[in-house]
Symmetry: D2
Subunit: 293 residues, 4 copies
Amino acid sequence: MKVGFVGLGSMGSGMARNLIKAGFPLIVYNRTRKRAEALRELGAQVADTPAQAASGVDALITMLADDRAVRDVIFAPGNAIDSLRPGAVHISMSTISVALSKQLSHAHQGKKQHYVAAPVFGRPEAAAAAKLVIVAGGPSEQIERCRNLFIAMSQKIFVIGEEASNANVVKLSGNFLITTVIESLGEAFALARKSNIDVHKFLEILTDTLFNAPIYKTYGGMIADQKFEPPGFRLPLGFKDNRLVIAAAEDAAVPMPMANIIHDHFVEAMAQGMADADWAAIARIPQHNAGLS
Amino acid sequence: MKVGFVGLGSMGSGMARNLIKAGFPLIVYNRTRKRAEALRELGAQVADTPAQAASGVDALITMLADDRAVRDVIFAPGNAIDSLRPGAVHISMSTISVALSKQLSHAHQGKKQHYVAAPVFGRPEAAAAAKLVIVAGGPSEQIERCRNLFIAMSQKIFVIGEEASNANVVKLSGNFLITTVIESLGEAFALARKSNIDVHKFLEILTDTLFNAPIYKTYGGMIADQKFEPPGFRLPLGFKDNRLVIAAAEDAAVPMPMANIIHDHFVEAMAQGMADADWAAIARIPQHNAGLS
Amino acid sequence: MKVGFVGLGSMGSGMARNLIKAGFPLIVYNRTRKRAEALRELGAQVADTPAQAASGVDALITMLADDRAVRDVIFAPGNAIDSLRPGAVHISMSTISVALSKQLSHAHQGKKQHYVAAPVFGRPEAAAAAKLVIVAGGPSEQIERCRNLFIAMSQKIFVIGEEASNANVVKLSGNFLITTVIESLGEAFALARKSNIDVHKFLEILTDTLFNAPIYKTYGGMIADQKFEPPGFRLPLGFKDNRLVIAAAEDAAVPMPMANIIHDHFVEAMAQGMADADWAAIARIPQHNAGLS
Amino acid sequence: MKVGFVGLGSMGSGMARNLIKAGFPLIVYNRTRKRAEALRELGAQVADTPAQAASGVDALITMLADDRAVRDVIFAPGNAIDSLRPGAVHISMSTISVALSKQLSHAHQGKKQHYVAAPVFGRPEAAAAAKLVIVAGGPSEQIERCRNLFIAMSQKIFVIGEEASNANVVKLSGNFLITTVIESLGEAFALARKSNIDVHKFLEILTDTLFNAPIYKTYGGMIADQKFEPPGFRLPLGFKDNRLVIAAAEDAAVPMPMANIIHDHFVEAMAQGMADADWAAIARIPQHNAGLS
């Protein structure tokens, strides 16, 4: 199975490496060519354009920063969708909007190509270690066709159903739930700190009992330590995902008041110059608003 | 160590039984006497008034429904605080306001009595099985003095420090965090349901990964099943605790926007006649507001 | 018609003076006696206790800071409700909770006394100039009986109906609407200022067109000037009224999301040390949160 | 001064008629040609394409439904921006995003054309009666050049400054303030109705006193009557404007919590099938959430 891979950022590089390691012939493209060249010595072919990376492959994987980047690669004149052969499958693995995922599904169908949405949970370390969690949506026979690719990159694969874009809904909702944990801890720790409670002790009580989950340990630790740099996932990217979940909810006519609070706290974080911090730094906003430094 | 125990509701009954089982001589009081009589055959003495339950004991435990009940028992003319002897300790174990906890601390000090706040996490089953989690605040030598009582009732004991009322802050903040989980799942599931995603599958993805904690499993299951009766913890009691955390945050000058959303959803739940449901039923509000039945 | 008047703060003093001016025989009480003595030379009798001010009068007016003060004056042992004679009317004119207003109505009925709630709109200058707006609730014959008193203190009298406490609902709702104007201007001006728009020009556009009302002019001017001191109505008092409208809404099972935002902004204002500013200073919070100084 | 006019909806038709009446030679374009033909008999020329309407004129006015329509007309291949001659001015009068207004300003500059943003306040009746309020932004000599056009269409003209897009900020902020009035009345009336208060009486109290402004009278009346059809301004258009103000605030890093509440209530209104109602129908949401029918 020949694979085109477009987008070799901190996530994509690790994923592509794991595909090579698993023996898949890869042709890679990255806007900044240097990152592509790094894979050549591992055996990958390097494409000059997205179109070339899409040409002649069985599967085209995109792992790009945002909707605009995916649109450019797939739809821009002379780009990938025209090069991809009928019967091939586009696997969209980055976090994109539900609306774009629907549009891609429709566009590929029009070209007799296939489309699978397979966004991932996990940070760059997990991508490098093939420990991602993949949520896949799309026609089941296409997902089966891609399964060995997924296995090479992940520790777990969930299949959400035939509607590809529902994988994006799950991914965005998952990120939304992460932000609610961050925000709620930010608020609770603000109250604790102003009451002179040791927040590490408070966190220990939580994670030793009902809140015994990686999400509370990881983010709770960052918030208790007030250490948000260097970022694991940059705040403006988290803001982007928040925008996407609000847009998806709006299209589905679902009010999400908690997502709105988080939106505002991303806005405040930007107003206070936190663009280089981890997205967990929005937990600083309720603390700041309570007069804590 | 002779113990007075006031408040034999669904939590208190189990706790008192475990103290008896552990060999502590108990004198119990309950407004509805029948519940007290049930403990007589296990060896407890039954008091006619709170004052009598407080008279001559080393420790007086209160496990009462709300601030008003505690105030009545402790402060009403001819009641417990005047009967409790100097040197004895009042252990306040139910969920009360931070303000009342501070007031109790101060009042007992004025009588040369001691005060420990030791609210619990856990439902009636946990109380019956001595599986509660206790968060204790107060002078450390008093907490040590009470430790064997706590051991008889709980699976875990956390000591939060010398300021008794901080145990109440932790308890209320913990309940607040539980409600944020409920609300956030309510919003996420509303979006999932309107996208025709199988919410049980969605929940499985969450609890198999980052959200692998009892809190997400328990409440996620109830919300996915949309089954909120019979209640484990009645909605109006959860509403009361929400009010208490907002009051504590206000006194500490901490804005808690998520607590406000939850407040409004408790209000909406009451407007829609959900007073007899479990407090997790507030998760129905975002779903209802999205037009789901 | 002999009148007892309790509460001679910045509002009450002006109101009492206007009653004297209109020829009503007055017996006044104030906790700080000096303010009462100032009325003696205008012809008022000075009472030593609230009970004395209630004794032998046809109407007892209370104009006190909050619920607690009203409760102390009316219900404390040896106080006003026992001295007021059957058939007399208690006119409660300060901003109190809906719940207390209901309780007063019921308590007076039990003593064969009457009760009218008649809260006022207007600042101290309006009180001094007999330019208040009065909203009166209660039995219509009692309101008629009080009408000449109202005329002596106000420029306008609205009768809201037989249910006395509904006058308090209207008063609290009115204050709520004022705070929504303040907050909304705070948010809009934050956006304008960050866009380098002249906010005075912006305000002129608003008040020259759709928003041509005193409320936008008065508060808009303060917010555009960023001048919140000296206070016309102190921020903590506005906060108290916000709490009362949220409590009333909760009792009526009405979610009020805007009131919650305003609650949080009062909390933030307190956290930032604005207790001595006018309540309009909550408009600074959205500006502060946008990174404006 | 020869004028091209694109967009003859319920607003644009009235505005174009008033320009003709004032003697300006007009060439008009509308996607649905019939509406353009109606103006031919008044003396207007009818264009076959937007490009033709832009060709040879001194000023090109756009009064189109949304950003997309403006983008299509101005930027689509073979469209208006290429036909407009250097030195001519594009007057953008409909409610568009701040971002698009900035983009237009920049694009026209690149073509040595001019750009003025001049959004309007007022409903179709006001457009027909030349009673609009215009807020104009852009280079002052260009605004002066357009002044006679504005005079022909409006009762009042405000000049906001050299930055054209600030006129859009003012327009969007104005609409935001209108929605806060609608929402706040919705919440207050919910409380009033559940307290059995006559909301027309309540409204009278408001509009007779502090809230004596057209905005409270017009919308207050609709909300008290619960009559939202036929729509003066359709709910989905109001929703669009709410989205635009949130986007502008986000770009300026300004949190606007009230705009978020209104966003959610637009979403809920859509979920409940109110797309054909007036935008004031969002006032039904707090009433609905309080259990009122």
